[in-house]
Symmetry: C2
Subunit: 333 residues, 2 copies
Amino acid sequence: MDFSENAAIAAIREELGEAGCLRIELGIGDDAALWQPSRSDRSAISTDAFVDGVHFQRRVTSLDRIGARAMNASLSDLAAMGARPRLATVALGIPHDLTLGDLRSLYRGIARVGKGAQLAVAGGDCTASPVLSIAVTVLGEVRASHAKRRSGARFGDTIAVTGALGASAAGLRTLGDSHLLDGALRQSALDAYELARARLSEGRWLAASANVHAMMDCSDGLGRDCARMAERSGVGMLLDRIPVAPEMAALARATGEDAEELALAAGEDYELIVAIATPAFAHLQARFHKRFGGALLAVGYCDAQAGVRWRRSGATVPVDRYGWDHFEVGEKR
Amino acid sequence: MDFSENAAIAAIREELGEAGCLRIELGIGDDAALWQPSRSDRSAISTDAFVDGVHFQRRVTSLDRIGARAMNASLSDLAAMGARPRLATVALGIPHDLTLGDLRSLYRGIARVGKGAQLAVAGGDCTASPVLSIAVTVLGEVRASHAKRRSGARFGDTIAVTGALGASAAGLRTLGDSHLLDGALRQSALDAYELARARLSEGRWLAASANVHAMMDCSDGLGRDCARMAERSGVGMLLDRIPVAPEMAALARATGEDAEELALAAGEDYELIVAIATPAFAHLQARFHKRFGGALLAVGYCDAQAGVRWRRSGATVPVDRYGWDHFEVGEKR
């Protein structure tokens, strides 16, 4: 790189601005950032790491969008807990060919998403590294009674998602093969992948309902993530409707693949997976629509059988085969 | 790597044990970790990143010690704030040649230091990466009136350190050239480098004194870190005694270098740099010795001149030339 650590810190401070720091007492530049936690709430923390060539590709995605994406992916964990963001720290591994302008672009994306989430980027670390890597830690706050775990789903609960699935995965596929989609659909798939928004407002709103028993974000695919929620909750799940985003439907038409199968395996949309007391579902769904415009989409329900199964056209198959392991698939998480 | 993400998480949980998790309500395995912050204290957070080939060398240091070192380096920031650790998250970049046994060793070191600091490793992330990298976020708590900033040093304050400097840097040099030191001195230098302990108890004890005006850890060398404290505090500093660790003194004798110059530039000891009201220094020093055995060593004082200067044998020189920039020197931070 063509700059010193002091130049990097100065550029970062400039991109972050001062606005985000009002909610903390002491931020970047001291040994640790300091703040007064809410006296009535629990604190929630989550860390995610993103590596060039694994979670993103510098050669096809702008640094601004890489920064935004890393923040949204991290914030999605707070959304899934029903927490409101308070601050973040960012540990950056900087390769030799990253310029100060690149660093500014990256932090512009980080700052924009941070500001949108009313969060202060309170500290972090920059270090030389053979590859661009970004580790984001987000800290939020949530009323103890509102915090939603993965383990709360009950027999008979309706399983719903906060939106159709697969737009982000379609965007990723289009990055690799630009002929798969075209025009507006291609752009909206790319935007869904690169600018996928953490469902923070939706998460907090849903978390406030006692009829919401469990919540998590759908980052590794509906199949895999439902399997995690089912296992932690000690229930089985039967999925009977897979809502497919238009971008993924178009991609499947273009390639001749099965759109629902793709959507079941598709991660990174940051839609929330929610287990809801079935008698309360219709009412909650109507209120959700009124509040957010989008739909709360039922995908199945919890039952007493083993594992998560997918039923369509009369046949029922286990979903273990869908979704991915972070280590097995090198492309993304 | 030869293992799946699930196997990695299982191994990590096993190495961490359950003990550390008692102080948090929800840890590894949900979207975020959850805990009840202290109602009367401030929260403090700090993030540090460590990369193979930059901050450590996998080929010469055991993974257990690499894990321990990453934790101590991170905890040192809480020590400098006077905070007691509460939890940590760890983001790991795992290269293809790391085995599950290696991962266990790394976490054994992390867990040992975490347990010693009464801290829960509450979450994190594992991802494939071309190089082993470890980003640690530590969260601690401190009474608002005790939190020590870098910016509090005043004219006339005595500047002191919690121990002699350079043992860790001597250890690093020995790693590169095993003939520099031998026998017990070599081992103690290596231990100082690989097992350098965050001064958590010392930091909390010093932070409780109103006569301690500023505190930071000496991670980039006394010269450079004093310059940071002086700048943030709006004071100058004159250093007139550089306490040299025996390991560094022996190394300097072996190489014909200047021991004090080396000690001034030597980082990573995690000794604390403390600005203390001069009238209270002798008494605090006596109490520190009684409490911790080790000595609180005066290295100079704050004055009204510009910058940090080093006076010896009658000559006074600015210290800007000592210490290092994380980006300029590839070996360590």
